[in-house]
């Protein structure tokens, strides 16, 4: 019987033990003190995932969007059986990730972030032959499947070269082929385009869309909002271990349609100007980002009324050597949704 949900998580919590540094306890610091190597601070628990619940339908691309450290990878690791939840339940294709871990592994193809999930001293083809055996695919089917994947990933001509001679994009394609070997109904892709050049990233996004048309369910984590927007049927925005919003990209962006989004480039930026702008009653939220040259900063402002705000804003900024270099009223993006929900940028 086909389960209702391809992936289901119910109140998943993951806590890790961590040792707090002595100087973060709030105790007054002595002027001259040597660290005591024998003193161990008591372990505390750090909550990486805090009550995540979600249901992903068969055939859906679900994007988990959030900044680094938000809990995306920890969630993926719990779903793919590498990590046991502290509490809560997760099911993949109807199988419990703790009690039926091996059945979950048979039904999942996972690509974790980073390019070292394959053997650099084996060829591309050897890697796939090795992993096909680990995934218990019968040899005759495995041979056919490997040829098919190498062809699809356009690696056939270099399939017999050692992976150490491949580009980052080619290694990622072998890693994705590894995940696809068993033709699993469900794919978990953790930051799949991280570190790829724009062309390789575009090709990979096209591949992900074509996998959806073949019927695969895909859970994708990313901190690239355009990627999540382009690929996902639904998006869960995750921050500090909690899912703070979950819906289709269009509905999420509609949430802030009552707001205007202003994007300014300011030259000669000084932090005190930010404080002044933030204190203006028309400003809903403000996020600043250094743009890398001559004190050029990008400001993203949410306001219910940009017409009323603009004159006052320009007056505040064009002062004492600081000036507006560029100004746009832009369409809200998923990043703006994130800013509205958390008061900070995705890349913070």
């Amino acid at each position: 019987m086909t389960p209702t949900y391809a992936i289901e998580a119910d109140n998943l919590i993951k806590k890790f033990p961590s040792r707090q540094q002595p100087d973060k306890t709030g105790a007054p610091k002595k002027k001259f003190s040597l660290p005591n190597p024998f003193k161990r601070t008591p372990p505390t628990l750090f909550t990486a995932v805090d009550g995540v619940s979600l249901q992903i339908h068969p055939g859906e691309i679900f994007g988990l969007l959030g900044p680094n450290g938000a809990g995306k990878s920890t969630t993926i690791r719990m779903l793919c059986t590498l990590l046991e939840p502290t509490s809560g339940v997760a099911r993949v294709n109807g199988y419990d990730t703790v009690r039926n871990a091996n059945l979950v592994r048979q039904n999942l193809g996972t690509v974790l972030a980073g390019e070292r999930s394959i053997y650099w001293k084996l060829t591309g083809r050897e890697n796939l032959e090795y992993f096909a055996a680990l995934y218990h695919i019968p040899p005759a089917i495995a041979r056919k499947r490997i040829d098919e994947l190498l062809e699809r990933m356009e690696i056939t001509a270099r399939a017999n070269e050692l992976v150490e001679r491949y580009s980052t994009g080619m290694r990622q394609r072998i890693a994705i082929s590894r995940a696809l070997l068993a033709r699993p109904p469900i794919l978990l892709l953790d930051e799949p385009t991280l570190g790829l050049d724009p062309q390789a990233a575009r090709n990979l996004r096209e591949l992900i869309l074509s996998l959806k048309t073949e019927g695969h369910t895909i859970l994708l984590t990313t901190h690239y909002m355009e990627e999540a927007d382009q690929l996902s049927d639904r998006i869960g925005i995750i921050d500090q271990g909690k899912i703070i919003a979950l819906d289709t990209p269009a509905v999420l962006k509609n949430r802030i349609n009552q707001q205007d989004v202003l994007r300014l480039e300011v030259a000669g930026w000084k932090p005190e100007i930010g404080e002044k702008i933030q204190s203006m009653p028309e400003v809903g939220s403000l996020v600043t980002r250094y743009m890398g040259s001559e004190s050029l900063w990008e400001l993203t402002l949410h306001t219910p009324n940009s017409r009323a705000l603009l004159p006052k804003l320009i007056e505040q900024v064009n002062f004492n050597g600081t000036h507006v270099a560029n100004l746009n009223v832009v369409k809200p993006s998923l990043e703006d949704v994130f800013i509205q929900l958390t008061g900070k940028a995705l890349r913070d």
Partner: protein, 293 residues
């Protein structure tokens, strides 16, 4: 035209676990280990040079101690039961190097995967996880057998080493040694993956073997408490049985006490190795340390 596998709806995985599939996976782990071994060619130098360098220091010391006319050999015969100090030292140091190689190669097998970044991708598959540790061992056994043959050839050539061996006894000693030596390696591999650093532990284990197991001297020169402790270390039994089989042509019946004890130790260490691995696997899964290095 034959349909491609991609054309089949992606609702059923091609992955089906059977005993045959598990055995194929195990064979591929062995093959992967072998492929990595032969693709790092520096091992050839290690295999040629290391067997003769390490024992040479002891052999030359022994020659100095026996005196220019070999008059000290009589004393050695009284305590060790043989005048063949060359063979005596070679057998002892070979067992030490064997244990040492297992600690570094089998003991660090999972750690190596962890540092390479491939442990997680292996563990994402439905293959029995202990296979990844077991699969390292056959290649290491082959490497060690080659190492032993190279050692014997080199010592025969450069030092005139001669054996008076019972080959059947020697074979039985080697076979009976495998479970305990590799069982210790499995325990060690589990500790290494949990601690993520094991240099100190390696030094400790090989130090214990070096001092207590009599790799270059008879146990009788040690205090009684050390001799009693040594009896609990499998390398002591391997060295003693190995010397008897290789230097005095002892028949299997003469070695049965040590061989039986070795098999019992082997069962103990293999079971302990599996339990340690299972404990470590669960702990790593709870703490999220599988992929950390």
């Amino acid at each position: 035209m034959e349909p491609t596998l991609s054309a089949v709806p992606a609702s059923q995985s091609l992955s089906h676990t059977t005993l045959g599939a598990e055995l194929r996976a195990f064979r591929m782990v062995v093959w992967r280990e072998w492929a990595h071994f032969i693709r790092y060619p520096s091992w050839i130098f290690a295999l040629l040079i290391w067997p003769i360098i390490f024992p040479s220091t002891y052999i030359l010391s022994a020659r100095a101690l026996s005196g220019p006319d070999g008059s000290g050999l009589g004393r050695f015969l009284q305590t060790a039961g043989t005048e063949n100090f060359l063979g005596y030292i070679v057998i002892g140091t070979l067992v030490w190097m064997w244990q040492n190689t297992i600690l570094w190669n089998v003991g660090f097998a999972l750690r190596g995967e962890q540092m390479r970044g491939t442990l997680e991708s292996n563990w994402l598959s439905p293959t029995w996880r202990f296979s990844f540790l077991l699969g390292v061992s056959p290649v290491q056994v082959i490497i060690m057998l080659v190492f032993i043959v190279v050692s014997i050839l080199e010592f025969s050539l450069f030092f005139g080493l001669r054996f008076n061996a019972n080959l059947l006894s020697l074979l039985l000693v080697v076979l009976a040694s495998l479970p305990s030596l590799y069982g210790i390696g499995f325990v060690f591999a589990s500790l290494v993956i949990a601690a993520r650093e094991a240099g100190t532990l390696v030094q400790l284990v090989r130090g214990l073997v070096m001092i207590f197991c009599g790799i270059t001297y008879p146990l009788s020169v040690m205090p009684i408490w050390m001799q009693s402790f040594a009896e609990w270390l499998p390398p002591t039994l391997i060295i003693r049985a190995g010397r008897a089989a290789a230097l005095t042509a002892a028949p299997p019946a003469a070695l049965q006490g040590d061989l039986l004890k070795l098999l019992l130790f082997g069962a103990f260490w293999l079971i302990t190795g599996y339990l340690a691995f299972s404990f470590m696997e669960r702990r790593a899964s709870r703490r999220g340390t599988v992929g950390q290095f």
